[in-house]
């Protein structure tokens, strides 16, 4: 049964990298992403939050087919897009776009921004004449808060925030249905970040967009997202509607993440949860819960038995043996 509102259906998406590249040794697997399951609802923003090694960036690249998946299914418009060959995936490139973290690295410094933005239009032959293309690019620039005349400028003439706006224009010019933002505001100053975040929300309404917003910054993710997924070492640890993740936090890792965020209100003196040790690498993982080495609630069976995702309340999923909803309150 296909739900009209579900834009992407992801099931058991997995990616393992073999980091042992010699012919003579056994493959050494890096479990970048394991068993991702979620539905992306049209018109909503899905926030994906995690630290280094969580697999969130790999997830983005898997969805866009920039890297091949090891196993799993991603259903878009009724078909599984993962096995499609590059030639057959053209429509995907129009419908799904990505905005990357480093605004400076994403634009070719030797090409005028107008041409950078217009490139996909020529590639996919969406318009026929140069004037039409120019018109479209100019409109896009205005939509993102820049001026039409800037078409002829080079990237180095713009600031970081403006770069990101140009990247957004480039993503939008194809009229996509989905935009994946991978740490898109992480390298921006606070005041610029606010502008770009507001722009994201505004454009979502205007263009009927769906976003996947990836970041390590929970406060930012909370602001933009309708649903949030928390990832750790390649696995989904918790998924919940945005508000509920904070009021009814279930997974101990999520709780630690929330508690680690510094609060600009100096009167709020909270007791912070400090996790032990470093984030382990995603190789030679334990057979049980991947978080148990740092978990402050770990019990004896956490190390041996791998927890599965369970739905503890409507649309709220947790991968933990001992979580209960409400550990976010009065602890």
């Amino acid at each position: 049964m296909m739900d009209e509102n579900v834009l992407l259906r992801v099931r058991a998406l997995t990616k393992h990298f073999n980091i042992n590249n010699s012919w003579f040794s056994k493959p050494l697997l890096l479990h970048a992403v394991d068993d991702m399951n979620f539905d992306l609802i049209r018109g909503q923003t899905l926030g994906v939050v995690g630290e280094s090694g969580s697999g969130k960036s790999t997830l983005a690249r898997l969805l866009l087919k920039l890297i091949p998946a090891t196993s799993g299914e991603v259903t878009y418009r009724g078909q599984n897009i993962l096995p499609l060959k590059e030639r057959q995936s053209n429509f995907l490139r129009r419908d799904m776009q990505m905005i990357f973290q480093d605004p400076y690295a994403s634009l070719d410094p030797r090409i005028r921004i107008g041409d950078s933005i217009a490139e996909p239009l020529w590639e996919h032959k969406l318009y026929r004449t140069k004037d039409e293309v120019l018109e479209r690019v100019g409109t896009m620039l205005e939509r993102v808060g820049l001026q039409r005349e800037m078409v002829h400028r080079f990237p180095h003439e713009f600031s970081g925030g403006q770069h990101q706006r140009i990247n957004i224009a480039r993503a939008l010019v194809m009229n996509p249905r989905l935009i994946i933002c991978d740490e898109a505001v992480s390298s921006l100053d606070v005041s610029v970040q606010a502008q770009v975040l507001n722009l994201f929300n505004q454009l979502k309404e205007e263009f009927d967009l769906t976003y996947i917003f990836i970041s390590h910054d929970l406060s930012v993710v909370k602001f933009v997202s309708d649903t949030i997924i928390v990832m750790y070492l390649g696995e989904m640890m918790e998924q919940a509607p945005a508000g509920e993740l904070f009021t009814e936090t279930a997974h101990p890792y999520t709780k630690a993440l929330i508690s680690a965020i510094p609060n600009p209100n100096p009167t709020v003196k909270k007791k912070r949860i400090l996790l032990e040790g470093d984030i382990p690498g995603a190789v030679n993982l334990p057979s049980g819960c991947r978080f148990c080495s740092r978990c402050y609630m770990a019990q004896s069976d956490c190390e041996s038995t791998h927890p599965e995702l369970r739905e503890i309340s409507p649309d709220h999923w947790v991968r933990c043996h001992y979580s209960k909803a409400g550990i976010g309150r009065g602890d």
Binding site: I19, N20, N21, S22, F24, L28, L30, G281, V283
Partner: protein, 323 residues
């Protein structure tokens, strides 16, 4: 480590094999007949045919190739077309001379080049740096034969200070006097090679020192209160040497047989000179032997360079997996 070495050696053998095969076929593509270099116009066609057969040159190309490979495996490197000597003995005779030039010029290049490069980097765009810049520009662009002939002319002819050619003035005598004589003869060719090598070293060292000096860990070292000399010596040098070591390895490989022009102009009896003569004589076996020798030495030097780099830079894990 052992596994790594075995893998490198195997790859090296593969490289050598490809190289000698390539050489073999490439030589025979030269549109000239080696036998024609050895015959007298007065010889009869019969004699010519016999000579051709003697060198196995009448057989089809691929048969010649397999015969060659077979001989190699038995340690037989062939016999020179020109004077019927064993290729091995010819090369072994020339090798020490090349090694003399090589070791002298490379050591001098390092001894002079590294400190100069460091000093130029420290006071970047200062007077010293800018003059060194000019000197290195000249050093790189200078045409070796021009330099060699000018030096020969100046020192050998006009001033009569240094000999004009060869490695020693015959007949070869024994003892200290011989060493002195050889050294006298070596001055000009060593200097010619030194110019090119030293320039390279200076450039590599200067550029990598400049890069290293900008690094954050240099600032950290200063933040501890250390002075400039200590920080350069203890922190900057080791990192800055990495490209220089790679460059030196390449330099040595190429000098093994590549100083052809220099050796020929100074009549220095090294491998480069031998290659030059053998090309003129279309002496395939000697050429094949020389190139085999060169591939082997290049492979060995590459492996050695990698080992040295791994010793200096702990991030380099030889052939292993870093997680």
């Amino acid at each position: 480590m052992g596994k790594y070495l075995i893998r490198r050696v195997v790859r090296g053998l593969l490289t050598v094999f490809v190289s000698i095969s390539f050489t073999f076929f490439l030589l025979r593509l030269i549109p000239a007949d080696p036998v024609s270099m050895m015959i007298d116009p007065k010889m009869s066609a019969e004699t010519v045919a016999k000579m051709t057969a003697q060198f196995g040159l009448d057989k089809p190309l691929f048969i010649q190739y397999f015969i060659y490979l077979g001989q190699l495996l038995q340690g037989n490197f062939g016999v020179s077309f020109k004077n019927r000597d064993l290729v091995t003995s010819i090369l072994l005779q020339k090798l020490p001379w090349t090694l003399i030039l090589l070791s002298l010029s490379v050591s001098l290049a390092l001894l002079v080049g590294i400190p100069v490069g460091i000093k130029a980097a420290k006071k970047r765009n200062g007077i010293f740096d800018r003059s060194i810049n000019i000197v290195t520009m000249i050093g790189i662009s200078i045409f070796i034969p021009f330099l060699s002939f000018s030096l020969l002319y100046l020192f050998g002819y006009l001033l009569r200070l240094l000999p004009t050619g060869g490695a020693y003035t015959p007949p070869p005598i024994k003892g200290l006097a011989f060493t002195v004589d050889v050294l006298r003869h070596a001055v000009l060719p060593t200097f010619t090679l030194f110019i090119g090598n030293c320039t390279s070293i200076i450039l590599y060292t200067r550029n990598s020192m400049i890069e290293v000096q900008k690094e954050d860990y240099i600032r950290t070292a200063f933040a501890k209160g250390w002075d400039d000399r200590y920080v350069t010596r203890r922190h900057a040098l080791k990192n800055a040497m990495i490209p220089t070591i790679t460059a030196t390895g390449i330099m040595i490989s190429s000098l093994m047989g590549g100083a052809i022009m220099t050796e020929t102009i100074y009549s220095w009896p090294g491998i480069g000179r031998q290659i030059f003569d053998s090309v003129a004589a279309l002496d395939y076996p000697v050429l094949q032997g020389a190139f085999l020798f060169l591939s082997v030495t290049t492979v060995l030097i590459n492996i050695l360079t990698d080992l040295v780099l791994a010793w200096i830079d702990p991030r380099v894990k030889l052939g292993g997996v870093r997680i």
